[in-house]
């Protein structure tokens, strides 16, 4: 019996199809729309899931093999970094505050991405996209964990990292990244793919990871750099998935175009607003700077994103609506955000400071149109005041944008001296947004955005104090009580970098190291 003769050679593509889509079937004992109940409600029409082109072909055995190899190397580096006190090798302890922003603001989102992709990986009726989404779900739990494991050693030595899970749900500015992912996960599977798979992973990912990872490299943090490098090949897969997803939706039915375009506009803007925090980190929190936020925006969004949208033009897709505003904003937002964090430095879980003269010169050079004109004088003044012992802390609570949840700190596109407010009315109530972009998003889905848990509103409503706290008691200090509820340790996690425990410990430990040579 010669079976070899009857077996025809199976090509790679065909073999992969057998290994994935060949597994699925049209259910008959239960209707398909009950097995995949979320496939239609968003209005996206898919006629033929078989037209899906697999963005990458990775069987599970290969996935385990490659990924395990990466994990072995990564954890060897992390172990060595911890053992050798790698944290003392960073440029300056101010840098560590950028990592606090990362652990509290980004790692928890990696986790939500894991759950959201698990949902997408269950919900699409096509096997091809499901398998790709599940692999991404698995990668995302990896990202959450490798980041936590890398920063675990920093947590042992520095403040501000210690209760990231508690803080992401409560601290005022962390509602910005949190609500972004809540927004995407509470949408349907197709919008999720445009929001996270395409806009976040494809259009904006470089603006998030390149700044943090090259920031780490420039500032001597090899542990974090390794985590970033190790995630790169995952990210490459995620990008091809996001792109295939959008093309597939557009190719399946012309009626999908307006829906997809609306989501692109929404998520590009939503993402841009979240990235304000990254811009601020790049321009102000890295002792050794990589490039300015404006430069990063121009390279990664305007140039690379521009090429991408040219490619999508054949489907009728236009560049995101917000582009004209972001071209103005890129000169301002990082300064405006840092000014806000400095003023509210008593209420956050990391330290703030004013730039040195040398750093301000760098900012002038990078922002010739705006820094000296609008920001330098204010920053110099604050610095002088602090030196005189009159450090300025803002005692009032800012109003937040109903959509992006950032305090109203952005200015009018036409006038950088005027704070921008927009107002909408829904069911007789007024709602405020920070920009045309956010107002637009609100007006399109008011029933969603009125649900937002706005940290400042919640403080006013008395929802941000520990149980048993009496706001009517004499001497009641609302900020102190809110910080306790946040688990922000006053005097350790917050306030100025200058004089902080982090600064002192780092100096002392480094001093020991230097003396030992």
């Amino acid at each position: 019996m010669d079976m070899q003769a009857t077996k025809k050679k199976v090509g790679l593509k065909e073999k992969y199809a057998h290994m994935t889509r060949g597994l699925g079937w049209e259910t008959t004992y239960q209707p398909m729309n009950k097995v995949f109940p979320y496939a239609e409600f968003e209005g996206i029409k898919i006629h033929d899931w078989d037209k899906w082109e697999d963005p990458f072909r990775l069987t599970m055995d290969a996935y385990w093999k490659y990924q395990a190899e990466k994990e072995r190397k990564l954890y060897a580096v992390l172990d060595a970094f911890a053992q050798n006190n790698g944290h003392l090798g960073v440029t300056d302890a101010r840098y560590i505050n950028a990592l606090k922003l990362f652990l509290t603001g980004i790692s928890p989102l990696e986790y939500v991405a894991h759950r959201g992709f698990a949902a997408a990986g269950r919900n699409f009726p096509g096997v091809g996209p499901r398998v790709a989404c599940l692999m991404q779900s698995l990668d995302e739990v990896r990202h959450a964990q490798t980041q936590i494991h890398a920063l675990s050693n920093y947590n042992k030595h520095y403040n501000g990292f210690h209760d990231f899970k508690h803080m992401i749900e409560r601290v005022w500015y962390l509602s910005v990244p949190k609500s972004f992912f809540d927004d995407a996960f509470s949408a349907g599977p197709f919008e999720w793919m445009i929001a996270i798979g395409f806009s976040f992973e494809y259009v904006l990912t470089n603006l998030l990871f390149v700044p943090f990872m090259s920031g780490a490299a420039y500032n001597g943090d090899m542990g974090t750099v390794t985590v970033g490098f190790s995630a790169q090949s995952d990210e490459a897969r995620h990008m091809t998935l996001g792109l295939e997803c959008i093309k597939f939706m557009l190719e399946q039915d012309p009626d999908n175009l307006p829906i997809v375009q609306k989501w692109i506009d929404k998520w590009a803007w939503r993402g841009t607003r979240v990235l304000t925090l990254v811009g601020m980190m790049m321009d102000y929190m890295l002792p050794k700077r990589v490039m300015s936020w404006k430069e990063a925006w121009e390279i990664y969004f305007e140039q690379n994103g521009g090429a991408l949208f040219n490619d999508l033009a054949r489907y009728g897709i236009k560049v995101p609506e917000c582009l004209s505003q972001t071209a103005i904003d890129k000169e301002h937002i990082s300064h405006q955000a840092w000014a806000t964090f400095y003023q509210y430095g008593g209420a956050s879980d990391f330290h703030t400071w004013m730039p040195t003269d040398e750093e301000m010169d760098w900012l002038s050079a990078k922002y010739p149109n705006t820094f000296d004109k609008y920001y330098r004088a204010r920053f110099t003044h604050w610095r002088d005041e602090a030196e005189k012992g009159k450090r300025f802390y803002n005692g009032t609570l800012p109003m937040l944008c109903q959509v992006c949840q950032i305090p109203m700190l952005f200015t009018e596109p036409s006038d950088p001296t005027q704070i921008c407010y927009r107002e909408s009315e829904y069911q007789g109530e007024k709602y405020h947004t920070c920009s045309d972009g956010c107002k637009h998003i609100f007006d399109d889905e008011p029933e969603k955005y009125i649900q937002a848990w706005l940290p400042v509103h919640q403080i006013y409503q008395g929802n941000c104090f520990n149980e048993g706290v009496d706001p009517t008691a004499p001497g009641f200090d609302p900020l102190a009580e809110v910080l306790k509820w946040y688990h922000v340790e006053h005097g350790r996690d917050n306030l100025d970098f200058e004089g902080s425990e982090d600064q002192k410990n780092f100096a002392a430990w480094r001093g020991l190291a230097t003396k030992n040579v």
Binding site: Y63, D183, K448
Partner: protein
């Protein structure tokens, strides 16, 4: 400036994150702990899901099982992503070596025709059941509660995909792509597979994720894996069909490992309250009957007239396993 950082001995300010310290005290924590406990958000969510407005994004109400602390359901294997992939990579190395050996030495051609037929008729269509296992576990990973159980369910989902792919390869080795088509036809239309397909499809639309866990991971796997990858495997290896055993060794080992995790979940959930115990026990009873019915015609293909006896043995073992887990069945 060259600094030798290794020589510095410094006292850490704290040993671990606060949410870990609140559970275990401020002492050095494992990577499993830091990568698992309290990772899922629990308290504040901004928007109700459009797809299920009656629930919050992560919500304890998606199952009738009630736990004071969902993190009681820990994974005895302590799998986080790194340790999980490293463990599976080792197993896939062994599997790969086995497939290589079968293919290079043409061992498939040495399999007696009867057993080749049995493998084609049973193990190849089984890949669709595995795919159902993937879907059910990804459902739990998405909509379950607490990273302690949702995390290993994703690993379990991907394991099922991996196993479905090994079974696919087995079909390709035995008979090429035609084996897959025949198996698909059997899955869709052969009366012997229809009870199984009906069961799998019914489980796919089950909304209570813990019920799904019981149906899929405890009962369906608990009865079918011993049947196919232990009893039937013995038939293969004692009848000159070792090549098939070689290609399914991964599954046998995987079941031995993963069932310990499943046991730990059931045991803790059932011990939590009389209500949980009652609920889980009734699910087990319900699905045990359905799985038994679905396996009966398949066991007949495998064991002929001994089918009832073998299935009886499998069920008896399963019952004593459940009894050890504290279930009343």
């Amino acid at each position: 400036m060259q600094i030798d950082l290794r020589t510095v001995s410094i006292k850490p300010v704290r040993q671990t994150f606060d949410h870990i310290a609140r559970r275990f005290g401020d002492k050095p924590a494992s990577r499993y702990q830091e990568g698992t406990y309290d990772l899922q958000q629990t308290d504040i969510f901004h928007y109700r899901p459009l797809w299920e407005p009656e629930h919050r994004l992560f919500d304890q109400q998606r199952t009738q099982v009630v736990m004071k602390d969902w993190y009681a359901l820990k994974d005895p294997r302590q799998y986080y992503y790194g340790s999980y992939t490293i463990a599976r990579a080792r197993q896939q190395d062994a599997a790969e070596a086995n497939f290589d050996m079968v293919e290079e030495r043409g061992l498939a051609d040495t399999i007696p025709a009867t057993f080749r037929q049995i493998a084609l008729a049973l193990l190849v269509p089984l890949r669709h059941v595995e795919w159902g296992g993937n879907m059910n576990n990804s459902f739990i990973s998405a909509y379950g509660y607490g990273t302690a159980i949702t995390q290993p369910c994703l690993y379990h989902a991907m394991d099922h995909l991996g196993i479905a792919q090994y079974l696919t390869r087995l079909g390709l080795v035995l008979e090429g792509p035609a084996a897959l088509d025949t198996a698909k036809d059997a899955w869709m239309g052969d009366p012997r597979w229809q009870e199984m397909r009906r069961l799998v499809e019914d489980v796919l639309v089950t909304q209570d994720w813990f019920e799904l866990f019981v149906a899929q991971n405890l009962v369906l796997e608990g009865l079918s894996y011993p049947l196919f990858f232990d009893h039937l495997d013995n038939e293969f290896s004692t009848n000159g069909a070792t090549a098939i055993s070689m290609m399914t060794r991964f599954m046998a080992e995987w079941y031995a490992e993963s069932s310990k995790w499943v046991d730990a979940q059931i045991k803790v959930a059932a011990a939590e309250s009389a209500e949980n115990r009652g609920l889980i026990s009734s699910w087990v009873q319900h699905y045990r009957e359905r799985v038994g019915k679905a396996l009966a015609p398949l066991a007949e293909v495998a064991f002929g007239e001994r089918a009832t006896a073998v299935l009886g043995d499998v069920t008896a073992d399963f019952n004593s396993r459940c009894a050890k887990l504290g279930l009343a069945i």
